[in-house]
Structure formats: structure tokens, C-alpha cells
Symmetry: D2
Subunit: 260 residues, 4 copies
């Protein structure tokens, strides 16, 4: 059969990225508690395409993903990208995996156990070098310092999502980034809380008011001091209880490039 | 050209609903303040199909919608459904419109004006009779009575969405349903609040703690007393600030049929 | 501490459903090929609440879910609902789980293996009896019979999603429902296809044109003949390639109740 | 009342962006056919925050938006951003508006009229200079050249979304970008097509097969020749009919910066 994709293209326009998106696939992750964790990822895989080829061969992306999905995906990312470069004759290969990662948490007073899901992302590319950005989105409680200051009792508080994206030298665990964010918020979030826990969360968050500006700054301070972190971006999206919109703040290191 | 849709079908299976979904179209609505309001709806239009026809004629739905979209859509719904029945040879015609509706609100202390968007829905059908369900989703503040009771200061509070669906005898304004819900919550929500307003909302919501169970019951009480309301369903979804999940409650009148 | 939820309520309004929604949790499923399959579910859990109680105890839902999540969830559903009824003093308990389920497929000509994800749902309730609805959403190719008939060559074709919901006497496998739908469409969908496979899919779908009306009728015929199926609903949503909207058809058995 | 936001911050971390997101507001747009068009936008507004301030004043964003929403929004963007800089003491102000824009189309053979909605975006910033990126997402038909070549009859085809983002010297109309994309695809998409139109679309798309790679290259060629276009990015996402995932291609000009 004729290979239309390999035809010569004369429009003289190289394509920055071409590939497949939104493939749902099971993956396996390292888990410091349980050894490994099963998850399910939405996967995007792309390569560059030189100006003289008409098209890429989309089925090869899926073949490569199918080959690697039973191995620990983080350890395999560089090999996987190398195989993409080879099988697709590309200079640069990209992969992005979006997946939930579960951490077991104990309620702060009663110790009841439950799981909390954190939405994570690996953004990796390989040209001559391998680059990886790990992203973790952490749900937290934020209690408004202004509302506390001006009101006799109480303060409006709400669920916020703080996303941390980092490029690192040595592997940083998801758990470490999660802890950094949770300690920078008014309080952390749990799936299971009994009344003594609810009392504790309510009272301690009142002692710990934080704007979105505060939480991104505090995480930034920790990341700047961290010897393994090369670059970072921190975004806080707070679903304000008294508005129907989001309060937002973002800090990034100078060399953080949003797109790998 | 051959009309494949009008071919005889021998499988002897009538089709309950067939039509088009997710058509985005501009619509015009009554607005008691401004006279009329422009909005944009996602529209679903369906009819039943007797067992002996192979298919319906999908383009006719769009023709009819295009014809009516420049008129006040609520006043036109029965005529529009009648035209669907005729042009598509159907016994029953259904239309659903999902759209945002804006209400101007004044901040409770400073009087600053801003608009708040409420997601609304018309669910109408025509067989021998015309039936219409109006649905309004209202964002509100809920402050937890348990958290207030057990904690020295403060109480966790959050944004919740209360959806009210009603079948009525005489037209009920969206504004009336919105007010009913907002008065049943810990506090209402505004797009624009200055500091004196924020102080007021924070303090008054603390004086007015409400579970999801409370808010659906209070709206139900008001709807039961309302002489124009025939049937209703009320659902509250509260985006808990201390959890990453939703607290939910629902009350419906005995004869409320979810699907027209 | 005071138990606010157990306070007497005097508004005299029983609540139809109250509980928690959108809890993300890992689950374990039977898999006829591999023995078991790990998945991740969005979970809703509700009970009814008599008029004399002010509130339910939301944390108990999570405790029960945490207890059962390491067991095969389908085998446990009735016990789990029984425990919900007991721990929450309810007459009726409800659970809904939404999750992706992976099936390994072989490309039709080359035999290349890949996984395809099917979005599934268990909707279970327990009052005096246990009721369960299994739902599977199957992506397929639909090729338009009208477009084929009136055009010299080619016919417009597109990805459609056919959702089948069934109540059964004896367990029906997800795989069986998937096969029923895939055989009723113009062609099935694969994650990995090489050129001989693509040629086969293109040519065979052209020999097998189907409206949304056809596919729901053909699945209905199979379900009506199936001795284990008590009730069903079939919905087809076709993302038309020549429009920016959906073509839709639905058939349900007479006693199918949408809400358990 | 105390102004907590204006307190001095000693953490020495400037914040790149802080503001409000997901505010739904009515807007008014130029329309070359009708003079003006009403739409509804999701709005994000941000500023930078120097290291010495603890927080920004979120309510001022909404005040400014409310002031400008009744004017033609495109003509007002620079003034609006200037007012943000002043009222929020910022060096840089950002606004993003996401909105649907309707264009009336005539069916290619019968001339039947209907509206098609295009999702658009303005991304504007003001530091010392004003920068604006206009983005338009165009739904089109793509018919696979490989599938056509290897199959006896027919070819798989599907709905794809092509997003074009441009920075321009002189105003470029949304209509012009839409036409550029529609002429680069296998065929354009309509909300209303009668049978002679469907025949034409089916046959002409078969004569005009296009990969995602082809369509982004052809739009790139047109944009490179266009004297008003300074920078651009083109992305095609094709919802493959034979897969459950997306085929993707992207080309950008060398200086296109994704984030204003």
C-alpha cells in the first residue's frame, strides 16, 4: 500500500508538533508507601516533523505507549521518548501524562484513614537533552485574612487548588510537593473527618489566614531553598465562597518555560 | 433524491426520542428590568418516531429553531413544539434550552452594582398538552452549623449551587426563584463586594448557618406555599471547603417527573 | 460535642436523597481476561432522611467506602448498601460509581494489540430489595446511510457514543454489552490500527451504513431477546462530521426507570 | 477598616500575575453584517504585584469590567488595561475574554440560512506597549488522505477543530480568519444542510482529503503572506472517527509567545 504520509511535501513548512492526544491508558507509578500504584492517564504524544515530509505515522505512538504501559512509567520516560524519536524519525519527542495519584491521609485528631486524590502531570521532552516537569495540583483550605480582620467573628473560607510545577535535578516525590503546599495553606483537606477533626480544622484555619498571594509566595520560598529544584511555577485558584468566580495568583521562576 | 429516512422500517421498534443536541444559538428572553435580555443557549430538540419509519429528518429541527430564535423564546415555545410535531410527523415534541441569565445586584452595604450569571434551563414538551419545567441554578454561601457549634470561633463555609426546577400554572419569573433560594441560604453571592459588604456577608452568614439539608427544606417550604407551583425538585451541591467532594441534598414533590 | 445533625427537625419535610458526591477512589473490578482490573471511580453515595432528623452524618459514607474499596466492588455492592442503611438509619441507600474499564482489542487484520477504555457506571439502590443498573458507553463509527445513497462516492462518517443501561437477572459482563453495541454500529473503534486495518475499517463501514436510529434499534432487538435482561435504555450520540452538533436517538423498555 | 492587602510584605517575592478568573459577563462586539453582536464572555483579569505589597484589591477588577461591558469591548481593551494599571498600581495588566461569536452561513447548494458559533478569545496585555492576540476556533471536516488512497471507496472523515491565534498590525476580522481555515480544510461545517447540500459536502470533501498536518500548513502559508499578521500559532485537533483519541498538529511562527 502507498505510504501517503512519507510523500514529499513542498510547502516548505516544518511542523512544530504532531501526534496523538487524549489517549486513556493504565499506568504504573512508584509509591513510597505501597511500592507501586496503579493509575489511569490521559496521554498526549508528539514529535516535530521536518518540512519535507507530508505526515507522521500516528499508529506508532500508540504502539510505543502500549509497549511501555506495564512498566514504571517515570523510569521509562527517557527510553520511551528515545524510541519515539527513532521510530518517527524526529529530532524532538514530547509526552504528557495527566493522572490522579492517591495518598493515604490520617484525620488530624482521630487518626481515621482515607485516601485523597491529587491530579498530577508529567511533561517530558527529549531533543539532545531530556527535560521533565512534574506537576501536582493540591486541594487546600484558604481562609481570607481581610475577612477575618474586618469581621467580629468568622472569616470566609473556601476550597482552593494550588498547582506546583517543577523541574528538578534529582527525583522529587509527589508526596514532598504535596506536603510543601499543604503546609503553606490555611489548612489541608481530608476525605474523612470526624467531629474532633472538623473542630480542629475550623479553629486552626482561623489562626492561619492566607490570601492566594500568601500561599504562592510561601511555596515559592520553599522551592527556592530546595537544592533539587531548578525551575518552578506555582498557581493558586481559589473558589471564593462569597463570589461566583476564582481568585488567582501565580509566581514562576525566571527560567520556567511553560511549554517544554 | 431518494429519501432514505422515510423508508419503511420492519424492526418494529418505536424510538422514544430522536433529534439534535448541543446546538449553540442566540436567544432572546424577557427581562423585567430591561425589557429583554440577549443570551446564548445550548439547545436539544427531539421527537418520537413511530416504529414504521426508518429515520427522522434532522435538518428540520434546525430550520424551526432558526425561524424562532429572534422572537422571545419563552412565549414561542408552544408554537415551536407544535411546528416540530407537524413538520416531523410526530406525536410528541421536546425542547431543552440551557442558558445563562444575568441579574444586576447591588452590594448589600455600599450599593455597588454588578451582574451575576445564573444558569437556567427550559424543559418543554408537547403531546396533547403542553408541559414546561423551568430550572434555575443559584450560587450561594453555606456555612456549616456543626462546624460553628463545635468550634470556638469561625465555621467552615463554601460556595454551593442550589438548583430549583418547577412546573407552574402562571409564569414565575427567574428573579422570584432566585430570591427564594438566596433567602434560604447562609448568604447570597455577589460579583462585586467592597470591604463593608464583605464584613456584612462574613458576619451575617455566621448568624445564619445552614446544612444542605436546611436549604433544600426551606426552599421546599416556600414552593409548597406558592399557589402557582405545581411540582418541584430542589438540589443543593455544596463544594465543601474542608473536603475535595460535594455535600448533596435533594427534595422533590411527589409528582415531579424528572424527564418531561 | 453536640450532635447538631441529630437534632429534631420541625419543618416536616423528609429528604429524598442526601449524601456525598464526586469522591474519587480506587476500585477493583472483575476482569474475565486478567482476573481483576484496577480502576478509579467517581463515587456518589446517598440515603433518604426522615422528616424528624435535621441532618445526615456525611463522614460515615466515606468510612464505609474506605472499608470496601479494596474488595471486588460489584460483589460487595449489596453489603455496602446494607451497611449504609444501618449506619445512617435509613430506609433506602444509593450508590453510583463512574469508572473507565479497559478491554484489550486486536486490530482486525494485523492483530496488533491495544487497550480501549469504556466509561462504565453502576447505579445501585437498596430498600427492601436490591436493584442494580449497569451502564456502558461504547465509542463506535457511524456512517450515514443518506449521505452514501445520494453521493457518487464516499459518505460522511463520525465517532459516536452508544450508552447501554441494563437491569439484569444474572450478571452480564461489560464485554458482552460492548460486543452487542460494536456489532450494531457501522464499525468498531480501536486505539491502534495499521494501514491494512484502516483499509478494512474504511471499506467495511461503507458496506454497513447506520443512522443513530438504526444502532439503537439493533441493540434493542438484541437486548429484548436476551433472557437475562429485565429493562434497558439505549442512547446514541453521534458527533456529526458535517455539523457542529450531535445527532441523538434513544429507545428504552417500558419499565426502565431512569432514576433508581 | 484596616487594609490588609496594602500591608508591607517582607518575603521579597514579586507575584507575576494576580487577579480574578472565570467571571461570566455580557459583552458587545463589532459585527460587519449586523453592526454589533451581543455575546457572553468568561473573563480573566490580572496584574503583576511588586514584592512589597501583601495583596491586590480584587474588587477593583470587577468594577472596571462592569464599567466597560456596555461598550464595544475590542475598542476599549487598551483603555480598560490602562485603568487596571492605574487603579491597581501595577506595571502590567492582562485580560482574557473567551466568548462564542455567531456567523450566518448559507448552505452551499440550497442557500438555507443558519448560524454557526465559533469560540473566540482575546488575550491582551499592557505594560509600556499594548499587545493583543486574537484566537478563533473553527470546526471543519477533515477527510483522511491515507484512508482514501488505500480503500476502494470511501474514506474516514471527522469533525476537527482548528484554532488560529494571531497578533496583527491592523485589525483582522474574525470572519477573515474563519474563511482562511474553512478554505484550508476538506470542507466547512454548517448547522443546517438539506440533501443537495449534504451530497455536495460529501462529494467535495472526498475530492479534498487533508491530514491535520495539511490544514495547519495551508493556514500557515496564508498567514505568512498576510501583511497584517505579525505572529501566529495554528493548532488542529481532529476527533478521529476510527479512534477514540485526537490527531493533533501545530505550527507557530518563530516569535509567537504563547503567554502574553
Amino acid at each position: 500500500m502507498k505510504d501517503i504520509q512519507s510523500q514529499t511535501d513542498k510547502r516548505n513548512i516544518p511542523i512544530n508538533k504532531v501526534g496523538v492526544r487524549d489517549i486513556e491508558y493504565p499506568i504504573i507509578l512508584d509509591d513510597p508507601e505501597q511500592g507501586k500504584q496503579n493509575s489511569i492517564a490521559k496521554v498526549d504524544m508528539c514529535v516535530d516533523l521536518p518540512h519535507h515530509y507530508r505526515g507522521t505515522h500516528m499508529s506508532r505512538f500508540v504502539e510505543i505507549l502500549h509497549h511501555y504501559h506495564k512498566e514504571n512509567i517515570v523510569d521509562s520516560l527517557e527510553d520511551l521518548l528515545q524510541e519515539m524519536k527513532e521510530k518517527l524519525n524526529a529530532e524532538t519527542a514530547y509526552i504528557q501524562l495527566n493522572f490522579p495519584y492517591f495518598i493515604q491521609k490520617k484525620a488530624p485528631k482521630t487518626g481515621y484513614k482515607s485516601l485523597l486524590s491529587y491530579q498530577c502531570k508529567f511533561n517530558a521532552m527529549l531533543d539532545d537533552n531530556f527535560k521533565l516537569i512534574l506537576s501536582v495540583k493540591v486541594p487546600v483550605v484558604l481562609l481570607c485574612p481581610c475577612s477575618k480582620e474586618i469581621s467580629k467573628k468568622n472569616a470566609h473560607n473556601q476550597r482552593a487548588y494550588v498547582e506546583v510545577e517543577v523541574r528538578y535535578k534529582e527525583l522529587v516525590w509527589i508526596e514532598e510537593l504535596v506536603a510543601m503546599v499543604e503546609k503553606s495553606a490555611s489548612q489541608e483537606i481530608y476525605t474523612l473527618l470526624k467531629r474532633p477533626d472538623e473542630k480542629y480544622i475550623t479553629e486552626s484555619s482561623y489562626e492561619n489566614p492566607k490570601f492566594v498571594e500568601d500561599v504562592v509566595r510561601e511555596v515559592a520560598q520553599k522551592l527556592k531553598k530546595h537544592e533539587n529544584i531548578v525551575d518552578f511555577r506555582i498557581q493558586a485558584n481559589s473558589n471564593e465562597s462569597i463570589h461566583n468566580h476564582i481568585a488567582y495568583a501565580m509566581v514562576r521562576s525566571e527560567n520556567f518555560e511553560r511549554n517544554l
